[in-house]
Symmetry: D2
Subunit: 361 residues, 4 copies
């Protein structure tokens, strides 16, 4: 593991950064920036797994190894040169590659979707705790589920995504990296994968952008509270929009879809936020009256849940682009970043290794 | 429209039934059966739209035309010969074809997902009411959205589904056809489309199965409260499982996936029910310990919302079959019904018209 | 116990009714009336406890003794002569007296406020089940809590109330006597005690009024799911208002306060319903603009929870009369019924025993 | 108004502190302490109203006058000498006296309990905004409600309470003074009034205690989102418990009752937290098994809501002391502080004015 080594260097367009353990941030907001980077930068970032790399075997007990005030260590925050409140930060996910040949998942006592929790307590005993280790087959791009309480195995496709991504919250708030909100954070949506451009409102000078909580694979809802958690090599491009209204909640654009993620409790309010924002977005993009947009979006939106386990729940509302006339969003930002990402993959700047990684450390 | 004419006849395997307006049921439970049919029957059913066919133009105001105690008219209930509490009713959706060349959707005052409602009241004024008429292009299999407050049009793919399907509730209850629950009902899930086998616990002698609320198309969440509502010709096969445990909540099987639908408020509890049942189902099918099943399902389940607007909200949890080893469910019932459905489509019994319908009435 | 003997007779003003076990109703709506009574009748009713009298010792296990589809047996329903949809039924609680010298409470597996439930499931083991027996000291008007898992005792004041009271639901629905709603039902509010006049909208001809689920004492929230449950002798006066708007949700009036009870999930919606109705009520009574009523009620309303354990949760909003100018509600109905109640207590018609009951059976 | 003048001085036991406008804190956590005070200190604190004193007439529009990121200005935080994480901070409210002869309340667009909000959005128009001014009659100890949309007046008893009181949150978080949580904050409970001792877990060195958001009167639920907001002179005693377990959520003790306040969404979880903590507290105090405590507390607890409008909702669970045997809590801290408070009132140290204040400024 690279834990303990901090490094950053700039090579061509690519800024590489690997935090040392004492550089991890455990909050959105409130942490000093680790680097300042200009808009347009390509960042290649190493992030530790959600467990700080502490769960390495099925013998490792979460209750003994984890400090719940220090999970989801963030790589960052990065101060984006020139970012001011009211601006929009665009982050394009170029590539996510497992940085280890194993991932871990766990049942943490009183954490998850099918257990009582400190925020919804019951008098029942906690579920048994356990750790599952998933071996990564980089060649076949699979992770192997290996039962702990029995002897069942099954290979599942590798599907890397980022659990946390976001900026500093508004109104002076500091939230732990376990919480999602209007600033992003621990949204745990499988939609945050290569090819996605995420848009965040900038709330503080420099935006203070960070990522972490890499998942080699996750189901929608993240039912047991943890995904196949793993250290990740992430390549992202950050850019800045100085004009136009910043989105109230995180928006995602891919070649195929527009999305909004709402985070709140109860879950219907997370959905409601995302649906409301999507109605407004479609209304603006196509010049529709709000009631017409409400009607249209009602018949075309998809609603894949993100997480139902964090301090706030996260719900995605998604509209597939092929259903609507082509339209230009955010001045063509996604197309621009997607093209740059393709170029990066094609030209392969030093430090960027396309395709399956050498997962030996 | 066929409203007012009741008819039923049996032709080969196919039992046709078109209710007269006075035969509509507006409840699950509490209504006398319209027909008794043996397990294994193929039913070809006409159902009126959710609005009782009363919204036919953009001039039609929901507040004047609708009686909210009489929406979602049900075709049925059907008494399934031999069905007893504890049995499992299997219903395979063979085919859903629009029975009109137009559908309707509406904004009903104080009903829907982005408005206050009588169960979540505010002092704000209701949203403006409106009716949208969607023309059906049976040839191209499209429906046309036509803005009411502006002049935008777009064609959307026809994607027929059933909003309501279910049996009489347990514990003597009678619920309106606006409510979803453990007995099915108004679940409003786009997953209930041709190719789906639905499993319901039988709560009363004869099961008292009914369908209605045909949707020519619907987004997940059914945000505005109504889909592209339309009269529907539905072909379904009903069958009965006398052995094995009846599912606590509705299950769906397709060639590609296993699903459970939970219905409750708040929305996280609808999801929780579905996730809990899926964990149990996978645990049973693969002989996994509950904690292993919890872990595995957490990494593979999808969670497409059904509705966030009805008296209870409905959440689907879905596992794609290709991710897991092949397994036999419910004695192979889905495979059996799917094969019968293919045969019906191939041999085309009199009364069954495959392909696009003649939508002129 | 009187179980098994049915009786009713009219003596002076007082109609006595004790159901036989086969006369118990387990629903609101859907049950045939046991008697027709004219408006203005004084009813003296015996009701079995929520457990059908089956939990009589700390050795009795709820999981073995209870059928959860047959709890909260109702005495009634009574067909109120002349009651039509749109009318308002007024029920004044004259007196509630324990009909036994013991009550019972229990921890029912997967039922209650600090446990997972079938509507909010987790994978955790259920809590241990248990039954507590409370001895009634009629002279001192106390019930004795006697610990089951230890040896602690404490006497608590007798505070009789009715857990269930209501009429048939609207829209053809039938709900079990475990559910509260706009029609009343299992609201489990300590406010439904002697001196309270309850107002219900009449939804069906005859109203179909019933009571049951007597509590010798209950905390707000009814946290463990059951109160000190006991058979009850209830004296109530039923009356009918043919004019004026029927209340959308149950209202309660006492000499000291006006109240509304809302029932829904999540709990904020139960509160929201009650608060909304109270704003409207105060607005009407004092001719205030809605925004002024919203402001005023915000500064004076109390919000004692009723239950957070039933299929719907119930929340009371309460305004103390002394804070506002005197005002006439429902044509002076409460004052009229309260005066009749005083007279009944004073003149003591045969069959009515004021003061502590002879609790020997 | 005293806005703009900062002052603090120590006179005998009493430390007086009046912040200047630039000393207001708008967060729990994240703000530098204004003073260090030793345990046992009597603090006499002036706090500005929730609106920063900006709403002074019915003509003042909240949308024009308020910055929602700067409401509920806090007086503090105070660094309590020697307070360490794991300790318990005890704060006894000796006296709360209006510091002005008027209070203000308002309907803020998209804020409150009977309106959609940014966290539960709908497409409806906001409610009309308005400001109500309440005149204080210090002699009669009344505040006067004066309708804005009509001409109704009524005098309501003065009932001063603190809307916000608390310490820095755990896990490095910083929350705005609009949010309640395990650290206290904007709980908006009428129970926080003279005579109450509040117990908070200390999460950071010095605890960083602050108060604000004085209410001259508030209904339970704080339905419209704002109470009768007013600048307040608060006298409190702060003390520290170095031994024993710190409470997971705020506890309150008065001469008459024990209370816990839970804050969460949905509202049932706020109640669940408070009920769970009360069960544990009673279990500890009386040596009861958890199931016995669950049963006993179910029959005796009261549940007066605090707020259903803030970012988290707050629910109080309350047990009246007279129902249970006398017991010593927190080493007799409440009795000790209550006695000191009586002495302070009796001896009247300079700077402390018992009885009705001279409200002229």
């Amino acid at each position: 593991m690279r834990v303990g080594r901090a490094s950053s260097h700039i090579d061509g367009d690519v800024i590489e950064f690997t935090p040392s353990a004492d550089q991890y941030a455990y909050t959105f907001g409130g942490a000093a920036p680790v680097l300042e980077v200009p808009p347009g930068s390509v960042l290649r970032l190493w992030s530790e797994d959600a467990f700080n790399g502490k769960l390495q075997s099925t013998e490792d007990k979460p209750s003994e190894m984890l400090n719940m005030a220090e999970v989801n260590p963030q790589t960052g925050p990065f101060f984006i040169t020139g970012a001011e409140p009211g601006d929009t930060l665009a982050v394009h996910v170029v590539d996510l590659e497992p940085a280890r040949d194993w991932g871990a998942s766990s049942a943490i006592p009183l954490f998850g979707g099918l257990t009582s929790t400190p925020l919804s307590p019951t008098l029942q005993d906690p579920l048994p705790e356990a750790t599952w280790i998933y071996q990564v087959d980089a060649e076949r791009r699979m992770v192997r589920f290996d039962a702990v309480f029995g002897d069942f195995q099954v290979d599942l496709p590798l599907a890397p995504m980022l659990g946390t991504i976001g900026v500093a919250p508004p109104s002076r708030e500091v939230r732990t990296s376990l919480v999602p909100g209007s600033y992003g954070g621990n949204m745990d949506s499988p939609e945050i994968r290569p090819g996605a451009t995420c848009y965040f409102a900038v709330n503080t000078p420099g935006a203070l952008f960070s990522i972490g909580d890499g998942h080699y694979r996750q189901g929608e809802g993240e039912a047991c509270g943890t995904a196949v958690e793993g250290a990740m090599n992430s390549t992202v491009i950050v850019d800045l929009l100085k004009t136009g209204a910043a989105p109230a909640w995180p928006r995602i654009e891919t070649d195929d879809a527009l999305m909004v993620i709402g985070s709140a409790r109860p879950l219907e309010d997370a959905w409601r936020i995302a649906q409301f924002e999507m109605v407004n977005w479609i209304s603006e993009l196509y010049g529709l009256a709000p009631m017409d947009a409400y009607q249209l979006v009602s018949q075309i939106s998809l609603a894949p849940l993100a997480n139902v386990v964090d301090t706030n729940y996260s719900s995605v509302v998604k509209v597939e682009k092929h259903l609507l006339p082509a339209v230009r969003t955010y001045g063509g930002m996604h197309d621009h970043l997607r093209d740059r990402a393709a170029q990066i993959r094609a030209t392969g700047p030093r430090g960027f290794r396309p395709g399956p990684l050498d997962l030996t450390d």
